[in-house]
């Protein structure tokens, strides 16, 4: 059940970004992904979620076990919050959206169309989706954007709960979430510019 990443190298837009990534994400543990803007956090998460192929290296234990939450929420503006969540529930074959609604205090918003929510309310609905996937590994890309203090706490509690039941989470963020977790700083994994003679390599 452990996600193991060995010697991973990733690229975006035809340009190698990160290399020599090695880490392990164990059940019950969270890992905070840190690095300056543009280093490749989003790209890394997408690679781990299987949305793009790695340049090199292995990812083990990821298949069909990852729930990914991107910069965008994946909410349909004309469906209500409850309908949005129910849809993901049936896609992932889980059984109830109630715990998710409770966790993010969405019961009052459940019948509102997602398009009419404020930025932070939308984000909360997007995070609630994670709970209905039933997947053990969460990959979160700046999950707390637009959330107020209160909602950040809700989120931290949700993560802690998830860890308690053996889940794990990899969270890219720039702010402090108040979570007990190891930090994975990828600043040092930036690809070194290669000598220009290395013609084939420049094609990557």
């Amino acid at each position: 059940m452990t996600l193991t990443v060995t010697d991973l190298a990733i690229a975006r837009g035809g340009l190698a970004l990160l290399e020599r990534l090695n880490f392990v994400l164990e059940p019950g543990k969270a890992l905070i992904l840190r690095g300056p803007n543009g280093i490749g956090k989003t790209t890394l998460l997408r690679t781990l979620a299987g949305l793009q192929a790695p340049l090199a290296g292995q990812i083990q234990g990821a298949e069909d076990r990852i729930a990914y939450a991107a910069h965008a929420d994946g909410l349909k503006p004309t469906l209500t919050v409850a309908e949005n969540l129910s849809f993901w529930m049936s896609v992932f074959g889980t059984h109830s959206i109630q715990p998710a609604l409770d966790r993010y205090d969405l019961n009052e918003l459940a019948d509102r169309q997602a398009g009419n929510l404020s930025a932070g309310q939308k984000r909360r609905a997007g995070l609630a989706r994670l709970l209905v996937t039933g997947r053990p590994i969460w990959m979160l890309d700046e999950p707390t954007v637009s959330l107020d203090r209160n909602a950040v706490t809700m989120f931290a509690e949700a993560v802690e709960d998830h860890l308690k039941y053996g889940g794990s989470a990899l969270i890219a963020t720039h702010i402090d979430l108040g979570l007990e977790a190891k930090v994975l700083d990828i600043s040092s994994n930036k690809v070194k510019p290669r000598p220009i003679e290395d013609f084939d390599g420049a094609f990557l």
């Binding site: 009052e108 918003l109 509102r112 169309q113 398009g115 009419n116």
Partner: protein
């Protein structure tokens, strides 16, 4: 609910509550009157008028065709007026009345088109001809469709009212333009407007004009359609007002939560 204060200006009926109360009282009358007129007029026309020497029994279609055609246009005019009132004075009821009228207009236009098409089959030998009158009705139908689709597509009621009102204004101008364009494009088969002329003509029965025998039941049907239109619009406006109020109440509920 009774109205205590006497209305001293017509605009007071722009108050939703007053509008509801008043139409609640008026509606039974309109329903009754329109049904009576329509039943009497249609029965009279269908059973007790002779066949035309040229068109045979198909003249009987006139009792549906002409009133619905007239009301289809008048309905658009009413929506235009209501839109203007909304844009200038911002009375919610008037915007809602325009919204409530549109589907009625669609159905009347459809009835005119369908009866005309059925009539055309024996008269002109085809269901449809690109005659200017028919064509401009088709265009009117499209304007109705666009208007309703726009109402449906916009979430926020005030925005929807504003946008549909502007569309109604601009659309009216273009509808008139189209009418002339279509006339220019094809001079048609359809008879010109003669109902009004007939009112002055007594007895003399030319081919093109509607004679007296047909005139009275036709008038009854026209009155019936007018009354039916009023009844429907009043009723539907009440529905829209209530729906709007539900929306507002629910919104407030969630705001207080």
């Amino acid at each position: 609910m009774t109205i205590t204060a006497k209305a001293n200006s017509l605009w007071e009926y722009a108050n939703p509550r007053k509008f509801l109360a008043t139409s609640e009282r008026l509606l039974p009358f309109f329903w009754l009157a329109s049904t009576t007129c329509l039943v009497v007029g249609l029965v009279w026309g269908f059973f007790f008028t002779p066949d035309d020497y040229k068109q045979g029994s198909t003249v009987k279609i006139i009792y549906l065709h002409v009133p619905s055609a007239l009301m289809a246009i008048n309905c658009w005019l009413m929506m235009l007026a209501a839109s203007l009132i909304w844009l200038v004075r911002r009375h919610h009821v008037s915007a809602l009345a325009a919204r409530a009228a549109a589907p009625v207009g669609i159905v009347f236009t459809l009835v005119a088109l369908v009866t005309g098409a059925i009539w055309g089959q024996p008269m002109w030998g085809s269901w449809w001809a690109w005659d200017p009158r028919l064509t401009s009705f088709l265009i009117l139908f499209l304007f109705y469709l666009g208007y309703v689709a726009l109402w449906e597509a916009i979430e926020d009621p005030d925005t929807a009212a504003d946008l549909t009102s502007v569309l109604c204004l601009v659309g009216s101008v273009f509808a008139i333009l189209s009418r002339y364009a279509v006339n220019f494009w094809n001079q048609g088969l359809h008879q010109g407007a003669s109902v009004m002329r007939v009112a002055a003509v007594t007895g003399s029965d030319t081919e093109e004009k509607v004679s007296n025998i047909y005139f009275f039941p036709l008038m009854l049907c026209i009155v019936g359609f007018v009354l039916l239109f009023i009844a429907l619009v009043l009723y539907r406006t009440c529905t829209e007002i209530r729906a709007r109020r539900i929306k507002a109440l629910l919104a407030r509920e969630r705001a207080n939560a």
